[in-house]
Structure formats: C-alpha cells, structure tokens
Amino acid sequence: MSVHVSHKEPLLRIAKRASIPAWKAWLIRILSVVLALLLSGAFIYAITGLNPVEVYKAMAQGAFGSERRSWVTIRDAMMLLCIGIGLAPAFKMRFWNIGAEGQILVGGCATAGFMIYFGGKLPTPVLLLLMAAVSLIAGAVWGIVPAIFKARWGTNETLFTLMMNYVAIQITSYCVALWENPVGSNTVGVINQKTKAGWFPELFGQDYGLNVLIVAVLTVGMFLYLRYTKQGYEIAVVGESENTARYAGIKLSKVFIRTMAISGAICGLAGFIAVAGASHTISTSTAGGRGFTAIIVAWLAKFNTFVMVLISFLLVFLQKGAVQIATQFKLNDFASEVITGIILFCIIGSEFFIQYRLIFRGRKEAGKA
C-alpha cells in the first residue's frame, strides 16, 4: 500500500463565488424562470395532456384579462407589498417577525371597530385618518411586545411573534362574534354597505387608487429609510452582527423595539388597507396567510422595496392565474398550486447558483476564488 495520500477530487464541488456581475446574476434568474416554465409545462402535459402554452395564456388572462381583473391584481399585489415592506426592516435586522399575520389582524380589527362605531358620525376623511392611526398603533403594539421581551429577557422572537398570531386570531374571533350580522351567523358581512362610511374613496377615478398611493409612498419611504438614514444603518449593522453593533455603541434593545414598532405598525396599516380599502369586513381570514407569503417577498428582494414590487406582482399573478385555470380547464386548484410551487422553487434555487458555483472534477478553477 502506498503511503502517499492522494487528494481525490470529488466529482462535484461547490464553492462560494467571490462576486458575480449583475448581468450574470440576472441571466441566472431569467434562466430559472424559463426552466420553471418548462418544468411546469411538462407537468401540465404529463398530468392533463393540455397544451401548456394555452394554460399559461389562461393564467395571464386571469390576472390581466380585463381592466377590472388588472385592478384586482394590482390591489392584491399592493396588499402583499405593503406587508413585505413592513417585514423588511425586521428581517434585515435578522429579527424573525413571523407575526405579520397577527399584526394585520389587530390592525384590521381596530379599523373595523372604528368603521362600525363611528361610521356616519364622523366625516369620511377624519374617520379614515383615525382608522389609519388606530391600525398603526394596534400593529405597533403587536410588534413591540415580542421586541421588549427579546430586549429584556432574550426570549425567542420567532416563537413569540408566531404565538402572538394566535392571540390575534382569537381576538378577531371575539370581534366577529361581537359584530356578527345576523347574530349567530359568524360573519360580519359588508360593513356600512348602504352608507359606505369609512370606505376608501375613489382616487383618480379608481376604486383602488388610494391603496396604490399609500403603498407607493411606503415603498419609496422604506427604501430611503433603510438605505440613507442612521436608523437604517443601525438595522443593517445589527443584522450583520449583534456584537459588532454592541462594539460600535449601538443600543440593541432600543433598535429592536424601535424597528419592531415600525414593522408592526406598517403591517397594522396593511390591515387597515385590507378592511377599509378592499374587503370592508373583518374575519379570521382577513390576513389569509399573506403575512407569511410576504416573508418571501421581503427576503427574495433582499429588502430592496423596488424589487419587492416585482415579486409581489409575480406571486399575485401566479395566484390569479391559478384560480383561472381551475375554471377554464376544470383543473383542480391544487394543480395550479403545484405550478406556483415549481416556479418559486426554481427562483429561490437560482439564488443558490448566484451565491455559489459548481466545479466539476477535472475542470480548472478559473479565477481562483
């Protein structure tokens, strides 16, 4: 036996990329989408024998087939984006705010309460401002509580924010029972159906104009806040390393609490938009899982709010298209969820190939990392 230890090279190695030009990163992302479309096309054909191109066309029809559909898509994308914007500062700080769902619900409950009790008693602009204010406060409180516990006693924020969701769901159930119409039916129904008191007014001739305006302001505002303010810089430092932040004299507890107040408040505001600007009702499904979906939005965009716009639209597009093909081709909803799953998997997977590269055996490591 030879004593010489030969360095056997594995067939495949993974190495971290030092850097990657922007065009190459985008090429990888685009390729991943193409691959996703091919894969789901193969899936559609294998399972149903339908022409995948027709199915994709139908999905586009479902999301943008008419002016009304386009506006519904825009409305839902704005909602998702708003929550994503709320989550961005928390996640950038590596504070795992899984509690957006609850923050939306308490914001929504506060909004619905004011709509029911003050609808018709106050002029609509005043009422809208009031509802926005209480939803911000309610969401902020829901965000601050886990932050205080983390700052003072080092509790785990992932579990804490998650548990706060269940408290919020119970509060919502209670409110629904309190306001249900008719009694015992467990639905609140459309609030102020006749008077439309507290509903978003038309803006630029569009029902959902105000939704877009609010979220557009938030998008720009959060972008500037994270990139150009001292507080935004503190968030970035805390996210990179808590010890560095401490060394630099940043007071961690203060940053935690302040950032979670902002995060919770924006999610609470999303509840306000959902109730006053879209559904005009409150139920335990008002958040509808969007508090979780928005995490993908924030994370995939690496907290760049403008990229988040694109991702929100992609997700909502997939969702609308999904329901569309259910009716058009009598495909069960689940079929379209598989497609959504494949596409997201490929996009998330593409980030891996942007961060790392594969080196096959025998290939020279060009440009040693």
């Binding site: 479902g62 009694v183 467990n186 997700l315 969702q319």
Partner: protein
C-alpha cells in the same frame, strides 16, 4: 454558511406555507370554453334560452358535499332547460366569503352573464354590492335573507324547505329509537345534535329534526353541541363523541363534513349503541351500519324554477322557497340499521306534508318555557312580523331563509354563549 442554510430552509418552508395558503385565496377565473373574449353587453335582455349565460359562485369545489349539491343542482337545471352547459354556464370554485366574492360576481357580470348565483350565506353581502352596480343583471344569493330588505329589484334569495327533510329524517331516527327502547337496549331516549352556528337556519333545522323524533318517541330529549364552523371534520367528530359520552344514542347534524357519522360508526363498532343521521350527502360510505339516512335538499328544483322564470321573462320574486311538494326535499337511501316499517312511515309523513295535513311547526307540538305560543313576533331580522297564525308557525313563508329561532322545551344548547 449556517445562516445561509437557515435562510434557505426558511424560504423553503415559506414556499410550503404559500402553497398551503393559496387554496383559500380564491380569486378570479374565466369561461369553461375559453372561447370568445368579447363580453356580451350587460344590458341584453335574453329573448330565448339560447342567449342566456348563467354564472355561479361556489364556496368550495366538488370535494364538499354542500357545494357538490349546488354544482349538480345548477348543472342539472341548465341541462333540463336546454342550455349548453359548456358555453352557457360558468362556475367559479373556491370563492371565499370576502371581497373575492364581489370580484368574482363582477367578473362574471363583465363576462356577459345575465343571472348569477352564489351558494353560501356569507357571499350574500358581496352579491348585494355587485347587484347595486349592475342593475340589469339578476343576482341570486342561495340561503341568503336580505333580498327583500335590500329594496333592490335585481337581488334575490332562494332557500328550500330544509325543515321538511329534517323532520322526516327525525322520524327515521325516532323509529330506530323506539325499536331500541322496545328491545330494552335503551332506556333514556337521549338525542344529540352537532350544529354549526347558533342562528335561525340551524335552530329551525334541529327543531324540525327533534319534532320528527318526538312524533314517534314523545319523551325524547335532545342536546345541541355547536362547532362554530360549517365544515370541520375533527370538531364535528369530537362533538359527536362528547354527546355520545353523555349518553346520546342518536346523533343528528347540521354541519357539512363526515366527522360525526364516522365517529358514531367507530363507537358502534366498539359496542356502543349509537346511530347517525347526516346532512347533504349519503353517509353510508363512511358509516355503513351507523348511518340511518341523511336529510337532503334538491337544489336543481330551485335553480330550475328561478332560471325558467328568468328565461321566460317573468318576474322573479325576491324570495323563493319550496319543498317536498315541488320535489325540492328528499332523504337519502335508508341504511340497513333502520327499524322495520320505517319506509312506510316515511312515505306516510311525506304524503302528509304534501297534502298539507301535517304541519311541522304546529304550536300544539311544542312549548316554550312551558307555554304554548299563540303569537311570535321577535324572529331575528323580521321587523316584528307575526310568524304564528292559526296555531302554526309559518316557516319560510314570509321570507325564504328560515327564521324559526325559538328554543323549545326538550332541547338544550350545550355551548351557546
């Protein structure tokens, strides 16, 4: 590296979360034919059935017994009226009871539907919202109760006399209970009922069921356990188990899953004496020996009657309700455990309902707080209308949706806060 891995895992988990949540989102969908994209002008008044386009909004899809009954109902009605189901009927599935219902209704309207149905109570206010905007299109909210009160000429409600099939299924249960007592297997005629929500639709149903039982076993008494959900396998099963552990031997239900019958079958197999009466769908597949029968609505009758009037250009009443006499009520095939002579008794009761000799809510049949009622004007949402005349509570006459919300003696609601 570790952080990256965690974030990747997290992102992966979120994909699942998204996929899991996607199902409840609902949203918009389009024509089954996928053909013409040019919507017919909404103002078209259809001259013949050839021009009519029918839209329908379903809360779930064919996996739910309740929605299946509606999907079959509207499809059958369209077929019987000679409509081409592929091009003249558009069904949107899995539309939750929120703004998605409004979106769906408006979308159907813009696609050129002339008459649009929704199948769930919670869709109602969104249908009304759409009806206000599209005055030339008829919106029908099945099981809703606001049409007449809304004052809208194009907003309608339909509801079958569900209390009739409930009563008959109660008679089937009563026959079984009597057989068990005669055989000495049961001494206490204790009945349990798994209810969804504590309001008139459910109260009317369980009262009719109970009165059906009591027409055979006068000393029967009943407990109602609410689940606060229309469809929850686990909760309905647990409610049935709780009732059986209290001593109930018959379990009725007004909830849409097979949770209760399955639980009863399990108890029966383990040697307990317990039988189940279902709702919407035949429960024999999940409870072959425990299921006696299920109360069923035949929705196609109501859909057809409404569509027929629409096609003929006749006025559609704000409220339409009908029952066994019109073929809108039935019970599913009797299970093998049913008592002898049940079929004959059932036929007799149906005949009595048809010729009007049998009034289910005859005030002689029940008391409230020990008293026999001669007047009742406090039904919720009825604006003080008198519901009792000539010694009978007239259910679904003033309005199609049930309004019998009296809590009669002999029935205890266990968890109505």
């Amino acid at each position: 590296m570790k952080k990256k891995l965690i974030s990747l895992l997290l992102a992966g988990a979120m994909v699942f979360a998204l996929a899991a949540c996607g199902g409840t989102q609902g949203g918009t969908a389009q024509t089954p034919a996928g053909g013409s994209d040019s919507p017919a002008p909404a103002t078209d008044t259809p001259a013949a059935s050839g021009d009519v386009k029918v839209g329908a909004i379903m809360l779930h899809d064919e996996n739910s017994g309740y929605d299946m009954a509606h999907i079959e109902g509207i499809t059958t009605a369209c077929e019987e009226l000679g409509l081409d189901v592929a091009s003249q009927l558009v069904i949107k599935y899995n539309i939750p009871e929120d703004e998605s219902c409004y979106d769906a209704a408006v979308d159907l309207a813009e696609e050129g539907c002339d008459i649009i149905f929704s199948d769930s109570y919670g869709h109602q206010t969104y249908m009304q919202q759409a009806a206000e905007e599209y005055e030339d299109i008829i919106f029908v909210s099945c099981t809703g109760d606001l049409a007449a009160a809304s004052g809208l000429a194009n907003f309608k409600n339909i509801f079958p006399y569900t209390y009739e099939s409930r009563y008959v299924s109660g008679v089937v249960a009563g026959m079984k209970l009597k057989e068990l007592m005669d055989a000495g297997q049961v001494t206490d005629p204790y009945v349990g009922y798994v209810g969804a929500y504590p309001y008139a639709e459910v109260v009317s149903g369980y009262t009719a069921f109970f009165l059906g039982i009591r027409s055979i076993v006068p000393e029967a008494h009943m407990d109602v356990q609410y689940t606060n959900s229309w469809y929850d396998l686990t909760k309905e099963g647990e409610a049935a188990n709780a009732l059986m552990s209290k001593g109930c031997v018959i379990i009725g239900q007004h909830a849409d899953s097979t949770g209760a019958p399955s639980a009863v079958q399990k108890a029966l197999d383990s040697g307990k004496v317990a039988y189940s009466v279902g709702y919407n769908v035949d429960m024999l597949s999940v409870a072959p020996t425990a299921a006696l029968t299920s109360a069923q609505n035949v929705w196609s009758v109501l859909y057809k009657a409404t569509l027929e009037k629409f096609i003929n250009g006749e006025e559609i009443p704000a409220d339409y309700a009908c029952g066994y006499a019109e073929g809108a009520q039935t019970i599913s095939a009797l299970g093998e455990s049913c008592a002898e002579g049940t079929q004959d008794k059932v036929d007799e009761v149906w005949a009595g309902l048809k010729d009007g000799s049998l009034n289910i809510f005859d005030t002689a049949n029940f008391t409230v707080g020990g008293e026999t009622l001669s007047s009742y004007t406090d039904s919720y949402g009825m604006n003080g209308a008198e519901t009792i005349t000539d010694g009978v509570f007239h259910e679904s006459v003033i309005r199609s949706a049930p309004y019998f919300d009296l809590r009669i003696d002999g029935i205890t609601e266990l968890n109505n806060a």
